[in-house]
């Protein structure tokens, strides 16, 4: 939007100036003004056509100036001194103007008009609309001096006065007539610029016209400026232009400051708003992750790195001895702690040797286990465990807050109500997506609008026939059944894989043949991960559950099932917007199933680790006893025993394991996304593009074609990714940073991929409504991902030798404390939800009320118009009678009421074709001012009855 605005501003500098003080109803006012001008032109039509035109131009110009001035004053807060000087000048000029009768006559009319317009402006600002005509007439009767006086009361008339000045100086060579003509031309151009937007011209013509007019005005306006008032005016104009330009530049600058705004706009213009909505969502997500990252980085990771005990000081901060050899290997670091055996190793090495090694990254601030349980660290006495806990809570709380707030805001925008009532008019007037700037997309949109029309007509017919509905229903049920089958199948597949890998892991590999062993080793390197190596190596079968196979199956299913759903949804024959929501819902279910399978398996793994931990605890005492015994035997003096921290045995630390799993999941997810992007989009596009020259059918239009951007899948990927971040962030503080990186990269990558290798969707549609749908899903995911996190924190005791809570976690794990918190959360969500619902309902009611009022007003106006028509007839009859009726107060009264109604009538000649929908506010002002009507003398009737009045003035 901003970009567009900027452009518009560029188009119509003056136009904007005119509207500077009121943003709403821009065009309307301009049109009204024009109309009024026309009316006034008619009213003074007995004067030569030329003069009328001139006056019109001047009036327009005045209006523009006035507005500009007002705006300027508003903006810059101009002082009154200038004003005063202007007034003086004006007075002198007024005297000058008395020189010739003819001029005076003209002038008076001009001023009248000026007044007129000024008052109209006032009316537009909500003060009064009615007294226009009345004042006008009064003006005609009052003396000239008083007029000038009232003039000086009013603001900003300098420029006009100056216009009538005899020209001096630079353009002195021109005759006054020529100058006048020039001025007229300039005014004409300005007027053109002002009303250009409403003209029914093609854009090209508008643009060329605008350029020409602007150049012309630019060239001659400055040249016209001479004399003192002129100079100030010119100065003002220049300043105004500068200011406008600055504002425009500033707007552009601001747009440029919004990250990726231009990219998104470009995509929007090519692909329609549904694709753009994904990128906007991505950007929003990026913002949230930025904050999460700031919290964890600033309050947890940096203090620990700076002020905590350094690496190698205590066991939990040291890489164990047996892992030291491989700790810095890239493969190890890459996998965040767990090394995958290389293929050569796998086939050559004996089983005992390809033990899993843990890398350097595991023993760093990136993971939970590194943190110390010291109460306060560093010279700041930074309370690390507390900070860690509060950051964990804070990230979740902040996320809730943001998501709910955004939802509430979106709900307000939605408005609700009966939008389906005017199906065809919506389609006619509102189906074009104005942001489309690409011909192909426009073609598609065009086609989709036509088809939607056809469909709507068919639908309308069928809703009357009402026979095919059973087939549709059956197909929809069938589709849902198929989708459910698919979901169940994929769930079972994952379950099967997880169980199988667990079986392998638990029973050891000896019982299986070479084939299965290798399969497992290749696909599940971490199954053989040995977490704790004690002397007997008896814990070998305790293995981590996750493995590449599970991950791979999960991501493959996550990739292919949505495609299947998409195909199935073809059965249902929904509108694409609804189809998108169904698709989203289905993929949501699929992903949720995957995620929860993952979590359940993770819980199993945690149980295993905890069992292991018990063994370690026992061994620890034995180890300590051995240590003490040994030293006591060696050395009789009780010297402090120093053991290098790398040699100290330690527990498995399930928290770090959980963190690692999440990190690995995120990374594999990201990789899958990017690889899919590369293969599915890029290589396909390359193949299609270059093979098309030597293929027997048209690849671009026909079978493989280019891919479309999959909005639903991408959005859900993003949402679930975020869910994993929320879940794992407590155990791996590095997760938000990682996610930030991922989002950043995918922003650029996906922008590029969309522009480079996707084609616009065949059915482009507006996706304004689905935004809150995304948010709702995000909220659900947030809730569902906090549940397991809270469960693990509350129910599972922390490891004894790693992490900030290794001393115990009593006050948090107390359910009495956690439950009220959860309850509070739910209550808050419920409260906000219900308030927003109430607001929505109120909105809808208000809408209905407005509609009802509008209709009532229509009726009222019709009645009034009828009445006015009658009275017009009466007035005509009255005109034939002697003219003394004007002095009659009754008649004036009557006429004024005629006038009131006649204000709608100028469009049609005799009140036959009445403009149907005057806005509510205008009719309200109409009624409000009836009271003050009594003493105002009646104005002339615009159409017919003004002639006698004119005559009267002349007399």
């Amino acid at each position: 939007m901003e970009v567009e605005d900027g452009k518009e501003k560029e188009f119509s500098l003056y136009y904007v100036k005119v509207e500077a003080d009121s943003e709403r109803g821009k065009e309307k006012r301009v049109q009204n003004g024009k109309r009024r001008r026309e009316r006034n032109g008619e009213s003074t039509s007995e004067m030569g056509n030329e003069t009328v035109e001139k006056k019109q131009c001047r009036a327009v110009r005045k209006e523009g100036e006035k507005h500009g001035k007002r705006a300027k004053r508003k903006n810059t807060g101009q002082d009154d001194a200038e004003e005063g000087s202007n007034k003086d000048k004006k007075n002198t000029k007024n005297e000058k103007t008395k020189v010739s009768k003819q001029e005076e006559e003209q002038k008076r009319d001009v001023k009248k008009k000026k007044k007129d317009i000024k008052h109209k402006d006032d009316a537009n600002h909500g003060k009064s609309k009615e007294p226009l005509e009345g004042k006008n007439k009064k003006k005609q009767e009052t003396v000239f001096e008083s007029e000038s006086k009232s003039e000086s009361d009013s603001e900003s008339t300098t420029a006009f006065e100056a216009t009538d000045d005899p020209p001096v100086g630079l353009l002195g060579s021109l005759t006054p007539e020529e100058l006048e003509k020039l001025k007229e031309a300039v005014d004409e151009r300005k007027k053109l610029i002002g009303t250009l937007r409403g003209k029914p011209w093609p854009m090209k013509k508008k643009l060329t016209n605008l350029r020409e007019s602007q150049e012309f005005v630019e060239k001659y306006e400055g040249a016209l400026g001479k004399g003192k008032g002129r100079r100030i005016y010119a100065y003002k104009v220049v300043m105004m232009k500068k200011w406008m330009k600055f504002q425009r530049d500033f707007d552009n600058f601001r747009t440029a400051c919004i990250p990726w705004e231009m990219k998104i706009k470009e995509i929007e213009s090519h692909f329609g708003s549904s694709v753009a909505s994904y990128f906007i969502f991505l950007r929003w997500m990026y913002g949230i992750n930025m904050i999460l990252f700031g919290l964890t980085f600033g309050l947890v990771m940096v203090p620990e790195a700076l002020m905590g005990r350094p690496y190698g000081s205590i066991p939990r901060k040291t890489v164990p001895r047996e892992e030291e050899a491989n700790a810095m290997n890239f493969a190890v670091l890459w996998d965040f702690g767990v090394q995958k055996p290389t293929t050569i190793q796998m086939f050559v090495a004996r089983r005992d040797e390809d033990q899993m090694k843990e890398g350097f990254a595991k023993y760093s601030v990136l993971f939970y286990g590194y943190y110390n349980n010291q109460r306060a660290i560093g010279w700041l006495k930074f309370r690390m465990p507390l900070s860690y806990f509060l950051v964990g809570v804070g990230t979740v709380a902040y996320s809730y807050m943001v998501v709910i707030r955004t939802m509430a805001r979106n709900a307000n925008e939605e408005g609700g109500g009966d939008d389906t009532c005017f199906n065809f008019s919506w389609k006619t007037f509102a189906s074009w997506d104005y942001l489309i700037g690409n011909t192909e997309t426009a073609d598609n949109k065009f086609a989709s609008i036509t088809t939607s029309f056809k469909e709507a007509i068919v639908e309308e017919q069928e809703s009357r026939k009402d026979d095919n509905i059973h087939l549709t229903r059956f197909l929809r049920v069938l589709a849902n059944f198929l989708v459910l089958c698919c979901l169940a199948g994929s769930g079972y597949l994952i379950y099967f894989v997880v169980r199988r890998s667990q079986k392998f892991a638990l029973e050891g590999l000896e019982n299986y043949g070479w084939w299965e062993r290798n399969e497992v080793r290749l696909l599940e390197p971490s199954t053989v991960e040995i977490l704790w190596l004690n002397e007997e190596k008896n814990n070998r079968n305790a293995a981590s559950f996750t493995n590449t196979q599970v991950n791979m199956v999960m991501s493959l299913l996550g990739m292919f099932c949505p495609m299947l759903f998409d195909v199935i949804s073809g059965l249902e024959n929904y509108h694409p917007r609804i189809a998108l929501q169904w698709q989203l819902g289905r993929i949501f279910a699929l992903f949720l199933g995957n995620l929860y399978t993952f979590i359940i398996a993770l819980m199993d793994a945690i149980q295993l680790k905890r069992a292991e931990e018990d063994i370690v605890k026992k061994n620890m005492t034995i180890w300590l006893a051995n240590l003490y015994n040994g030293t006591v035997l060696d050395n009789s003096t009780a010297a402090p025993i120093t053991v290098h921290p790398a040699d100290v045995p330690r527990g498995p630390c399930w928290e770090t394991m959980v963190g690692q799993e999440f990190v690995r999941l995120i990374i594999s997810d990201t990789m899958t996304t990017y690889i899919t992007l590369l293969i599915g989009d890029f290589f396909r596009a390359v193949l299609v593009r270059f093979l098309n020259n030597c293929w027997c059918w048209d690849l671009e239009y026909g079978f493989p074609s280019y891919s479309e951007f999959d909005v639903s899948g991408n959005v859900l990927g993003l949402i679930f990714n975020q869910g994993m971040i929320w879940m794992g962030a407590f155990y791996a503080p590095c997760l938000p940073a990682l996610n930030l990186l991922r989002l950043h990269v995918s922003m650029y990558l996906q922008c590029w991929a969309v522009m480079c290798c996707n084609v616009p969707q065949e059915r482009v549609f507006k996706a304004s409504g689905s935004n809150n749908f995304y948010m709702a899903m995000l909220l659900v995911i947030l809730f569902l991902s906090t549940l397991p996190a809270i469960y693990t924190i509350v129910s599972i005791p922390p490891s004894f030798d790693c992490g900030p809570f290794s001393k115990g976690f009593g006050y948090v794990s107390n359910p009495g404390l956690v439950l009220p918190f959860l309850l509070l959360l739910v209550l808050a969500i419920y409260y906000l939800q219900s308030t927003s619902k109430t607001y929505k309902r109120v909105n809808v009611e208000l809408k209905k009320k407005l509609q009802a009022q509008n209709e009532e007003n229509k009726k009222k106006n019709k009645l009034a118009a009828l009445k006015a028509a009658n009275e017009l007839e009466q007035a005509r009859r009255a005109r034939d009678e002697p003219r003394n009726s004007i002095s009659d107060p009754d008649a004036t009264q009557q006429r004024s009421s005629v006038d009131r109604a006649g204000h709608h009538r100028h469009a049609g000649k005799n009140g036959e074709s009445i403009r149907p929908g005057p806005s509510v506010s205008s009719s309200q002002t109409t009624t409000r001012h009836t009271a003050s009507r009594g003493y105002t003398p009646s104005g002339h009737l615009p159409g017919h009855a003004h002639k006698p009045q004119k005559n009267l003035t002349k007399r």
Partner: protein, 259 residues
């Protein structure tokens, strides 16, 4: 190496592809497999089989009956890529609207479109129908004669199109072509169009109708037409003949000349 679970995970992909491209599979089956099997079984070419069917089922001399029988055979028995009834209607309409006197048809195949065109042409009009394949041309000739159109109405030329076009003026005395229907090899659309331009047989108002520009498709042809600017292009969107789900279209070009 690949575990059954991972193989199973590819099942949805397979299903998706199967469902999404089912029409193409049907086409593959009908146009390639069935044809091959029948060829082996009967020892006749597809066109000859079609001719036999028409001979036994249609009324001789009644062009509508022959066309209907053709359609029936193509949709029920075997597949031949004729223009089909739906796109045929567009063709009929164009001919009736423009009343061309000299018509060039590239790609007679079985004569379906020739009969269709000859039916709706005004008296005195003449069709030059070009077919490269000898056997097809024989069948086509038989069918056309069966429909009751003689040599004056339909002139069958058995030669490749790129040889015929330059010699149209000399050999057949053609001064100007009013209507050209292209339904031969999709690759030949563009070179043939250029040849036609060179010979100067195309004048202002000549209509060129090219079938199957979307599937199998003639992208180069369309691109050239769009860029050249001497044609007014209109694409009639329809589906492939006798198979519902495959989108196809005919390109209608009107020569407007260089302006």
């Amino acid at each position: 190496m690949v575990s059954p679970a991972i193989a199973l995970a590819f099942l949805p992909l397979l299903l998706t592809l199967l469902i999404r491209y089912r029409y193409y599979f049907v086409l593959l089956y009908r146009a390639v497999l069935v044809r091959w099997i029948r060829d082996c079984l009967t020892g006749m070419s597809r066109e000859e089989r079609a001719y036999q069917y028409i001979l036994t089922h249609a009324t001789p001399g009644d062009s509508q009956s022959i066309l209907d029988t053709f359609d029936q055979w193509c949709s029920k028995v075997e597949f031949i890529s004729n223009i089909g009834p739906k796109k045929g209607k567009i063709l009929d309409r164009l001919l009736v609207e423009n009343c061309p006197l000299t018509v060039l048809e590239l790609g007679t195949h079985c004569g379906y479109s020739t009969i269709r065109m000859a039916r709706s042409l005004p008296i005195g009009a003449r069709i030059y129908s070009v077919e490269m394949d000898e056997r097809n041309a024989q069948v086509a000739e038989k069918i056309i004669r069966l429909a009751g159109f003689d040599d004056d109405m339909v002139e069958l030329i058995i030669r490749p199109s790129d040889e015929v076009i330059p010699r149209l003026h000399e050999d057949f005395g053609v001064e100007r072509l009013d209507f050209i229907f292209m339904d031969h090899w999709k690759r030949c659309y563009l070179p043939d169009l250029m040849l036609l331009e060179e010979t100067g047989l195309i004048g202002e108002g000549t209509i060129i109708l090219a079938d199957n520009v979307i599937f199998p498709g003639a992208p180069n042809f369309l691109r050239y037409v769009r860029r050249s600017g001497i044609y007014e292009l209109r694409i009639h969107r329809a589906t492939l003949e006798y198979i519902r789900g495959i989108r196809d279209g005919m390109a209608e070009l009107t020569y407007i000349g260089i302006k």
